[in-house]
C-alpha cells in the first residue's frame, strides 16, 4: 500500500478507535475528569501506538508467528516504560497526575489492535502514520469528553475557574455526576450517536 492520506485521516473520525471500533474505553473513563491529564494521555498513547507499530513493522518479517503477540507485548511495554520514565524526569507534575494510568497504556487495546491489523502486514512508514493517527483519534475523543466533564463537573477548564462565582451564589451547582466514570460512558454514547447519525452510509 502506498502512502495515502486516507491512512492518516480515516482513523481520526471515520474509523475512530473509540467511537467506531469501540476500543480503549476503559482509559477514556479514567483520565477524562480533567483536561490536562487527558491531553497528556492522548499524546502518550499516540507516541506508543505510532512507535510500536513502526518498530513491529520493521521487524515483521523476522517475528516467529507463534510468539508474535508476546513480541508485540514486549515492544509495547518497552515504549510505555520509556514514556513513563521520561514523564517522571521532565514533566513530573503530569506524571504524578496520571499516576497508574501511564503504566496501563500497555493494556490499551488500540495499540495491540493496530499492530495486529496493520503493523504486522504493512511497511514501516504507513504503519507509523496509522499508529499516530489512531492515537490522535483516541486523544481527540478524550479531549472532547474531558472538556465537558471538567466544565460541567468542576466548572473549570485547564484548572482555571470558568463558571463565575456569581452563578454559584445564584444557586448554580457543579454537576457531581460528571466527575463519576459513568458520565464518561454516557458522553461516549452521545458521541457515537452523533457520529452514527451523520455516517449512515457506513452501515454494514
Amino acid at each position: 500500500m502506498a502512502m495515502d492520506k486516507k491512512i492518516f485521516t480515516t482513523p481520526i473520525i471515520k474509523a475512530n478507535p473509540i467511537t467506531v471500533l469501540v476500543l480503549g474505553i476503559c482509559s477514556a473513563l479514567a483520565v477524562t475528569v480533567k483536561l490536562e491529564p487527558a491531553i497528556v494521555m492522548g499524546i502518550s498513547v499516540t507516541l506508543v501506538t505510532g512507535l510500536s507499530s513502526f518498530l513491529i513493522s520493521l521487524i515483521r518479517k523476522t517475528i516467529p508467528n507463534r510468539i508474535r503477540i508476546i513480541v508485540q507485548l514486549v515492544v509495547v511495554a518497552m515504549f510505555v516504560i520509556l514514556i513513563s520514565e521520561f514523564l517522571k524526569a521532565y514533566v513530573y507534575d503530569v506524571s504524578k497526575q496520571l499516576s497508574v494510568y501511564v503504566g496501563l497504556i500497555i493494556t490499551n487495546c488500540i495499540i495491540m489492535g493496530r499492530i495486529e491489523a496493520f503493523g504486522l502486514t504493512e511497511k514501516p512508514l504507513p504503519s507509523l502514520v496509522d499508529g499516530l493517527a489512531n492515537g490522535l483519534g483516541y486523544g481527540l475523543i478524550l479531549v472532547i469528553i474531558a472538556f465537558f466533564r471538567e466544565l460541567i463537573g468542576s466548572g473549570s477548564i485547564f484548572g482555571a475557574q470558568i463558571i463565575p462565582q456569581s452563578w454559584y451564589e445564584a444557586g448554580y451547582m457543579n454537576n457531581g455526576l460528571f466527575i463519576m466514570p459513568p458520565m464518561a460512558l454516557i458522553l461516549i454514547g452521545c458521541l457515537i450517536w452523533i457520529q452514527r447519525s451523520y455516517q449512515k452510509e457506513d452501515k454494514k
Binding site: M78, A89, Y92, M180
Partner: protein, 292 residues
C-alpha cells in the same frame, strides 16, 4: 529462513528480551538523577507550600532552582524529635540533605501501623520510642517562626501525606495535602486550595491538648468547632485526612507542648532518657477506640 523453527524462536526471544532490557536499564540509569531531583524538589515545594510560600513556582522559568532558593531562604532549621518531645537531632544548614529531610514519613507510618496492631504493651512502648518525627522550622519574613510537621496515611487507593505549619500559639498557619493515586476530581481534590485553606487558622493545640479537626459531610462545617467540609463524593479520602492528622498530631503533641511553652528551639539535642511512656500509650489506646 524458517521463522517457525523452535531454535529460531528461542534465540529470537532471548535476543529480543536482552535488547529491550538493555535499553530500559540504560534509560533508567540515565534519568535517575533527574527523577530523584524532581522528588526532592517536590518535597521542598510541599514543605514551602503548606506555609503558602513559593507561590510563584508555577510561573518561575526554572522551577527547580526557584524552589531550592526559596527553601534555603525560609526553611532555617530542621529537627528530628521523638514522641516525648525531645530533640534528637538538630540542623541549621544544608537542610535539603540533612537527616531530618531524609526521614521517610512512609516508614514512620508503617511503624505507627505496627504499633496500632500490637497488643503487648511493652513491645508497643518500645516501638513508640523508635518513632522519629521530622520538624522543619520556617522563619517568616515578619520574624515569626512556624513549625512544619509531617503526616502520612492511607487514602482510598494509595498513600496520602500532608505538611502542616503550626504557629507558636498552637494555631495552624497552613496545610498542604498530597496523594499518590486518589481519584482525580474526587479524592484528588484534597490538594486544592479550596480544601486546604479551610485548615488555616484552626486551633490544633490548646491548653496542652490536641484539638482534633473533624471532617463533616454536606458542606455544613462549623468553622468555630474545628470542622472542615469534606469533599463531596470523596468521603473516604476526607476521613483519611482526618485520621492522618489526629494520628500524627498525637505523636507530635509533647513537642508542640514544648513549643507552646517556649522551651523548644533553644534546646540542644539530648540523649533519650526515660520518655513519658504511659501518657503516649494511653493516647494510643484512646485513639484506637475512637477510630473503631
Amino acid at each position: 529462513m524458517d521463522t517457525n523453527k523452535n531454535t529460531y524462536t528461542v534465540i529470537y526471544t532471548i535476543v529480543l528480551v536482552a535488547v529491550v532490557a538493555t535499553i530500559l536499564a540504560v534509560v533508567s540509569i540515565g534519568l535517575k538523577p533527574k527523577q530523584q531531583e524532581n522528588i526532592k524538589v517536590e518535597k521542598q515545594m510541599n514543605i514551602l507550600g503548606c506555609d503558602n510560600l513559593a507561590a510563584e513556582a508555577k510561573t518561575a522559568s526554572n522551577k527547580n532552582a526557584y524552589i531550592q532558593d526559596e527553601f534555603k531562604k525560609y526553611i532555617t532549621g530542621a529537627l528530628v524529635v521523638n514522641t516525648s518531645g525531645e530533640v534528637l537531632e538538630s540542623f541549621d544548614s544544608d537542610i535539603d540533605n540533612c537527616n531530618a529531610f531524609k526521614v521517610s514519613p512512609a516508614d514512620q507510618f508503617d511503624l505507627m501501623r505496627k504499633i496500632d496492631g500490637t497488643q503487648d504493651q511493652a513491645a508497643k512502648d518500645a516501638m513508640v520510642k523508635d518513632l522519629r518525627l521530622p520538624v522543619f522550622i520556617c522563619s517568616n519574613p515578619d520574624g515569626t517562626k512556624h513549625y512544619i510537621l509531617s503526616g502520612y496515611g492511607a487514602g482510598l487507593w494509595g498513600p496520602i501525606w500532608s505538611y502542616i505549619a503550626v504557629k507558636e500559639d498552637g494555631k495552624i498557619a497552613g496545610a498542604l495535602f498530597d496523594h499518590a493515586s486518589e481519584t482525580p476530581g474526587l479524592g484528588g481534590e484534597i490538594v486544592t486550595d479550596k480544601f486546604r485553606s479551610q485548615f488555616t487558622g484552626k486551633v490544633i493545640l490548646s491548653d496542652g491538648e490536641i484539638i482534633p479537626v473533624t471532617v463533616v459531610k454536606g458542606g455544613n462545617a462549623n468553622a468555630e468547632a474545628n470542622e472542615i467540609n469534606a469533599i463531596s463524593g470523596a468521603t473516604i479520602t476526607s476521613k483519611a485526612v482526618q485520621t492522618m492528622i489526629s494520628n500524627w498530631m498525637n505523636y507530635y503533641k509533647p513537642y508542640l507542648q514544648k513549643v507552646a511553652s517556649g522551651a523548644a528551639h533553644s534546646e540542644a539535642p539530648v540523649e533519650v532518657e526515660n520518655p513519658n511512656e504511659e501518657t503516649i500509650a494511653e493516647q494510643n489506646s484512646e485513639q484506637t477506640i475512637k477510630t473503631e
